[in-house]
Every structure is written in C-alpha cells, then in structure tokens.
Amino acid sequence: MALSEKFKGQTPAWCPGCGNFAILNVLKRTFEAMHLEPHEITIVSGIGQGAKLPHYTRCNTFNGLHGRTLPVATGLTLVNPLTRIIAIAGDGDCYGEGGNHLLHTIRRNPNITLLVHNNQVYGLTKGQASPTSVPALASKIQPFGNPSEPLNPLALAIALDCGFVARGFAGAGGLPHLQKLITMALEHRGFALIDILQNCVSFNKINTFHWYKEHTYFLEEGYDPGDRQAAFARSLEWENGIPLGLFYRREKATVEDRLPRGDRESLTAPPFLSAAAVADELGRFF
C-alpha cells in the first residue's frame, strides 16, 4: 500500500540507513490502516533522534524536554480525551533521564501508547552509552566501554505489572509485525509499552541492523501473554535469541476511569464557574 500525503511531514534529519525511517513508515501505515485523521492523534515526544519523529508526519504534537515525555502525555490525557496519545522516546530519553516517570506512569496506567526507539546508544549527542547499551560499547567518555549493566525494559515493565509489554524491531521482516503491535497497543485500554529495537548506523556498531536481524525471533504462535511468570522468563532471553512480540497483557482500570470531566463539552466551553458558584467559593470561610 502506497502512503498517501495525509501524514506527510517535514523531511527527516536522520542519517541515511537509520532505523527511525522504518518506524516512521510503520507508524504512518498504522494511522492510515486505522483510518485516523491527523487531528485525532497527538504525539508527545522528548529530545533525541527518535523524538524528532512527530515533525516528520502530521498530527498534534508536543515535542517537549529530554526525558519528560510521559508526564506531559499524562497531563494531556487527564484533561483531553479527544486524541489518541502516542508517546515517543529514545532509550536515553525514557530509561535514562526519564526513568522515574516510566515507573509511575505504569502505576497510573493512563491510556497512552509508548514507543521507545531503542538503539542502545545516545544518538543525538554522538554515541555515549545509553541505559540499554551493552558493556562493550565504547565512546569518548567511556573509552573502556560501558561500566553499567544494560537495563531490561521488558522485565522492568512486567515486574511493575504494566498492562501491555511488547518488543518490536524496526527492520524488514519486523515491519508488518511492528504495525500489528502498534495497532494492538493503540487499541489497548491503558498504558502500552513497545520497546522497538532500532539500528543506529552512526554510533552503534555492535547492535547493527544485521545483528538485530540475526539475533531476533518472533514469540511462537500460541504464546500466552496472560502469564506474567512466563512473560518475565521470556523477557530475560537475550544472549541466545531476542524474542519479538507481545510479552504480557492485562486489562485493568485506567487513570482516565476516575476523570471528573474529561469530555468534549468541557473543552469547547470557557472554563469558568457560574456567579453563584463563585459566590459560594468566596463565602466558604465563615
């Protein structure tokens, strides 16, 4: 299916060969397949290479600070139910600078789909180790490699009982699969995390496109994403093959379920109280 002009945005400033192109493409395809209009979507992102994505399509956009994607998206979803909210972040963005927000957004369970463009490196700032970098990754400030263990975002999310935990790959064979994952995530009620393995041609010479292609495989048909223990076990697989797919899913109450008035009407009307209500507020201190 050729892409229409509907979601055509600015020209990407990514390096040729960067995995971000594939993610952008899949996302546009997903929007088209789901018959979404640009104004029915909001992408909230941070700072990093992947985080530039919303400029390269068309939708409502909040391209905020490095690491602060999730609180912005949360504030938005708590008051405005009019758009599907997609949060886009890098591995540094979301697991490094913004790690705390991930923990607590999972606890809140807002209706947000989070796509992490996980290239296992800091791309935009030129190659430093990210929270998911392997120990062998060296850089000018880590001349002898990365001294910390890589963080396993899937295991983390499953430990926090995140309601939708998946891994995709921004590569040829993985694209229809990624589209399916994103579609499912957008249809999931509650917070959905998709960690997307994405090559960085400029700075990650270890986990290259081909490395990912060789090391990943799809979770088998019949895998049951309802089993948290099994999901945890599978999330720990890495050395002998990296599973792709939906690891864990559980529906539960979302933070929006307790919204007082996140409705269309409250957003079309000026936000003011009636004169009687104002008088009541001012008179409460007798």
Binding site: P54, H55, L78, N80, R261, L267, F285
Partner: protein, 574 residues
C-alpha cells in the same frame, strides 16, 4: 480591645484545634482576627504554638506580647513566660505541665479532670481550654457548636456534642475564677467575618479562575493549596494529580494546559528548583501555566516548616534562556486571591508562565474579612475553542503584532496544534536558521513585553502621601508594615510602599513611587531574608539605593513590638 492568645504544646496535642476553634468563634462574633502558626518538622512531640490575636478593629500581624498563654505542657511556660504581658495570664493544667506555678497570673485549671469527670477521652481536654477562654472573655458558648462541628467534619455529631459538654465545664470552671477585667470582651457586635489563610486564598483564586488541573508533589508549606483545591475538586471537576516528583508535576501541568484547560502546580523552593527546566519549557512553547512557590528558609531542606522571603531573585530569574514571566507576591490572603486570578488571566492572555510567590507565614496565617468581592475577578477565555476550521488555516506560532498567537485545543477541530521545545517556525516545527530564530525571540519576548508590562499595578502606598518615614517591602510583610504605619502615623508622616506585583517590575514612569522613595527622609527596606533581595531588585530596576534595612532571617516572621523597636532604632540613627 486587642488580645493575643498563644497556645503552646507538643505536636499532636491539639493546639491547632484550640486555636482554630477560637479564631472561628471570634470571627462568627464579628471580631477581627489574625492568627499565625509556629511548628516543627515533626508529627509528635517537640514544641509548637498557635497564636490568635483578635480585636474590634482589623489586625494584620502578630504581637510578641501575649495576653493569654495556654500551656499544654511545661515547656510552653519555660519558652514563652518572658513574652507574657505584665498584665497577662497563663492557663494551664498542672497535670499537663507537671508543675504548678504559685503566682496569681498563673491559672491552674484542671482541663483533664473536667473531661474525665464527664467520662470523656483526655484529648477532649482541649475543649475545656476553649470553653475556659470563652468563659473568661465573657463571650459565652453560643457559636461554639457550629464551629466545632465544622472543624470535626466527618467525625460526627456525637463527638461535637461531647466537646460542647467539656467546653461548658471549662467555661463554668472559669466563672468561679478571678479573670482580669482588661481581658473581658463585652458584647461584640458586628456581622460574622470570613477567616482564611494564604493557602486557602490561593486555592480559591485558582478555583474561581476556572483552574481544571492541579498536579504537585507534597511539600511543606505549599501542600495547603493542593488540599484546598482537592476539597473543591469534586464540585468543579478539577483533576488533581500527585506527581512522582516536581519535574513530573510541572510537565503534567503543561500537558494539561496544552490539552485545553487552565492548569497549575505548586511547591516550595526545593521543588521549584526541580521545576526550573519545565518553566523554561513553558517559556519556549508559550503554554500558559500558573505556579505557586511557597517559600521556607533555605538553602536546601533548610527549616521546612518555617518562613522566609529568600527565593525572590531565584524565582525571578529561574530558567535557562530568555522569556517573559509574571511574578506576584501577595501580602495578604485577599491579595493572594485576586493576584492568583490575575496570574491565571495574564498567563492565558500572554501565553506565559505566571508565578505566585508566597511563604509559610502567609500560607498559614489567617486573616478575617467582612466579605470577598467577586467583582474584581477577571474571567475571560483566551483560547480558540472552535470546533471547525482547516488544518491549513492554523499555525500555533503565527507571527502577530502582539506576539500572541491563537491557542487552539488539540482534537477539537482539524487544526493541528504543534508545540516544540526546540526553536521552531510558525507551525511549530524545528528550525535552525538565524532569521526565524530572531523573529521568534522577538515574538515571544519583545512584542509581548510592552503590553504585559502595562498590566502591572503600581506598588501600594498606604499612609501619608508624602511620607518622611517610608517602610518598603513585598509579600508577607504587608501586615506588619501596615500596622506599624498606623502606629507611626500618629507622630509623623509615615507610610508603607508595598510591592505585590513584582515582574514585570512596575514602571516608575507610570506612577509616583520613585519620587516618594526619593523624597522620604528615611526609606527602610523590610525583608524576611539575609541579603536584601528586594532592595537589590529595586536598585537594579530604578537605581534607588536604600539608606536603611530591616532584615530577619531566623525562620520566624516579624512580630510587632520588636519590629517597632527596630524602626525606632533606625529612626534614632538619622
């Protein structure tokens, strides 16, 4: 009549109950009240006090001298006996203080025994104290029941009824005592007054301004604002979110404001420090947001439950890069209410962050008012809430003469709202060229500035209109300066110049304040900090150099008598 009651004891003993009950009863009887609180950063034990000053005339600050000291423990007597007015009295229960005091001004009243005799729990002894005071003052228990009902809230009628019985026992007991005549009230007339503190006022200001989202992380002394708004959230559909940290709080507020509603956050200095990057984000994205910064003594954790005015220049300059902001520092709950409303108005009108700076003293001090007038409140919606339109029509950052671009609501129409923390073009997309950058800086800052500055009120001059003695301050020193001017004004041309709208700094060309400063024989800059931040600001903005300063930085507010002494000392030096 001008009577000060101080109730002291350990955290958890219920000084707050006694004080609040008294203050509530006094205002219902039409008496003017000022209260302030002094408490430690602990939940039980230590030493706290609650002070209630009341009068038939308005009162706006606390006195040092105490007329009635209520001691719930022995330490209270040790700590406060030197503050007792020569004609003052101490009410205590020797079982609570663990010693008895023979002097006649020490009145041993068996609060605990009176309660036990009624078969009630010892904690109700506090009602005996309230009853005793009301009895002694000659005010009776008429308004006792509704006030305590309200204080008790959910705890139900039965508890309130029991409290009333204990209060009566206390009152009856005092009837048999010698009570100094100058501490009796007569029959106060007057309609009931309102009683509210700075936190409630800011919270109410937010509610009546249509605030629909408040996210914060708990931090003393700012939590009172969140508590007030949370108590009104259900009635008005306000979303309250406890964030995981202050960084999340301000980013949530910006997300919500982007989403189309009026949004606010609040914190104290340390939490504000964590919001600084988000403040700069508000500046760049031109998303309206209101922030309450409630000061406590710093640096770092400092004295978490005490007061200081030491974040003025920090908050004024917070945030990397250059963008306009509004900074207000109300001096009274009334100002806090209207300035919070004005903060929302200006934040939305100019699409900028607006900050209300308060402090622990203002946050917790209660003031009484005959009424709060809705008329000055400004409620205008500046958002573009159209539900139709075309994506091609709309640019979030369209260049306009005023610098203000239409602010649409995402999802309401086909128009796309694109905001960006990077420098951007009119549509909101990332740019790097010099020309667009320059124009966007002009839009965000230069174009908005003149109109924004014109919104700012001149500082308030109270007292003589050509004063020789001038007290100058901002924020919570309002009350003490006002009352000092009333006293000083009896002998000389005295006035107060109070700044509550601090940024944009009031334009001296639009008013007379700079002349008033210059012509005063003695202008004293009064600040609750060590380095004289207001004086530095005024010097930077006007060139005026103060000849005299009055500063306090021990975590406590100014109290009337020592304040007057210091002023007289400064006058003497001239």
């Amino acid at each position: 009549m001008d009577i000060t009651i101080r109730i002291g004891g350990e955290a958890g003993q219920g000084m707050q109950f006694i004080g609040s009950a008294l203050a509530g009863i006094f205002t219902r009887r039409g008496l003017h009240v000022f209260t302030h609180q002094d408490y430690m950063s602990r939940i039980r034990g230590g030493h706290n006090f609650y002070q209630v000053r009341f009068s038939d005339r308005p009162v706006r600050c606390s006195r040092e001298k105490v007329d009635i000291l209520v001691a719930l423990d022995g330490r209270t007597i040790e700590v406060h006996r030197d503050d007792l007015d020569p004609r003052g009295i101490v009410l205590y229960d020797e079982r609570m203080t663990r010693s008895s005091y023979p002097e006649p001004r020490f009145k041993n009243i068996p609060f605990l025994a009176l309660t036990e005799e009624l078969g009630l729990a010892p904690i109700m002894a506090n009602s005996a104290a309230v009853g005793a005071i009301l009895g002694g003052l000659g005010l009776g228990l008429d308004t006792y029941a509704p006030v305590v009902d309200e204080l008790m809230g959910k705890k139900g009628k039965e508890v309130a009824a029991s409290n009333l019985r204990v209060a009566r026992a206390g009152s009856d007991h005092v009837d048999k005592m010698v009570w100094p005549g100058h501490l009796r009230c007569g029959e106060p007339g007057g309609p009931p007054l309102l009683l509210l503190n700075g936190s409630q006022a800011i919270g109410t200001g937010a509610v009546v301004s249509g605030c629909r989202f408040y996210a914060a992380y708990p931090m003393t002394p700012s939590t009172g604002i969140m508590i007030h708004i949370a108590s009104r959230a259900k009635a008005h559909g306000i979303v309250i979110e406890q964030a995981e940290d202050e960084i999340a709080a301000i980013n949530m507020a910006l997300g919500a404001s982007f989403g189309g509603v009026r949004a606010m956050t609040g914190t104290s200095g340390g939490g504000f420090a964590l919001m600084v990057e988000g403040l700069s984000l508000a500046g760049m994205t031109e998303i309206p947001v209101v922030i309450a910064e409630v000061q406590r003594p710093g640096p770092a954790t400092g004295l978490p439950t005490r007061t200081e005015q030491s974040d003025l220049l920090f908050v004024l300059h917070a945030g990397h890069g250059e963008f306009p902001r509004v900074l207000f520092a109300p001096g009274t709950p009334e100002q806090a209410l209207y300035l919070t409303n004005k903060a929302f108005d200006l934040a939305e009108k100019y699409q900028i962050p607006a900050i209300i700076q308060s402090d622990q003293y203002l946050a917790d001090a209660e003031w009484s008012y005959p009424k709060l007038d809705p008329a000055p409140l400004r409620c205008l919606d500046y958002r573009d809430r159209a539900t139709d339109g075309d994506a091609a029509d709309y640019q979030r950052y369209r260049f306009t003469d005023s610098g203000v671009s239409p602010l649409a609501v995402p999802g309401l129409s086909p128009r796309l709202v694109v905001v960006d923390s990077d420098e951007h073009d009119e549509e909101g997309h990332i740019i790097e060229d010099a020309e667009t950058r320059r124009r966007m800086v002009d839009k965000r800052w230069r174009r908005k500035w003149p109109a924004l500055r014109a919104e700012i009120a001149q500082p308030l001059l109270y007292g003589h209109d050509r004063p020789e003695l001038l007290l100058v301050g901002y924020g919570s020193t309002y009350g003490i300066m006002h009352d000092a001017v009333d006293i000083l004004g009896e002998n000389r041309a005295a006035a107060m110049l109070h700044f509550s709208e601090l940024w944009p700094f009031p334009d001296p060309a639009l008013g007379d304040y700079l002349n008033i400063l210059r012509q005063a024989r003695l202008a004293i800059c009064v600040e609750n900090n060590a380095t004289g931040q207001l004086a530095r600001l005024i010097r930077g903005e006007t060139g005026f150099e103060f000849p005299a300063f009055l500063r306090k930085y021990d975590g406590r507010p100014f109290l009337l008598e020592p304040f007057m002494d210091e002023i007289h000392g400064l006058i003497g030096k001239i």
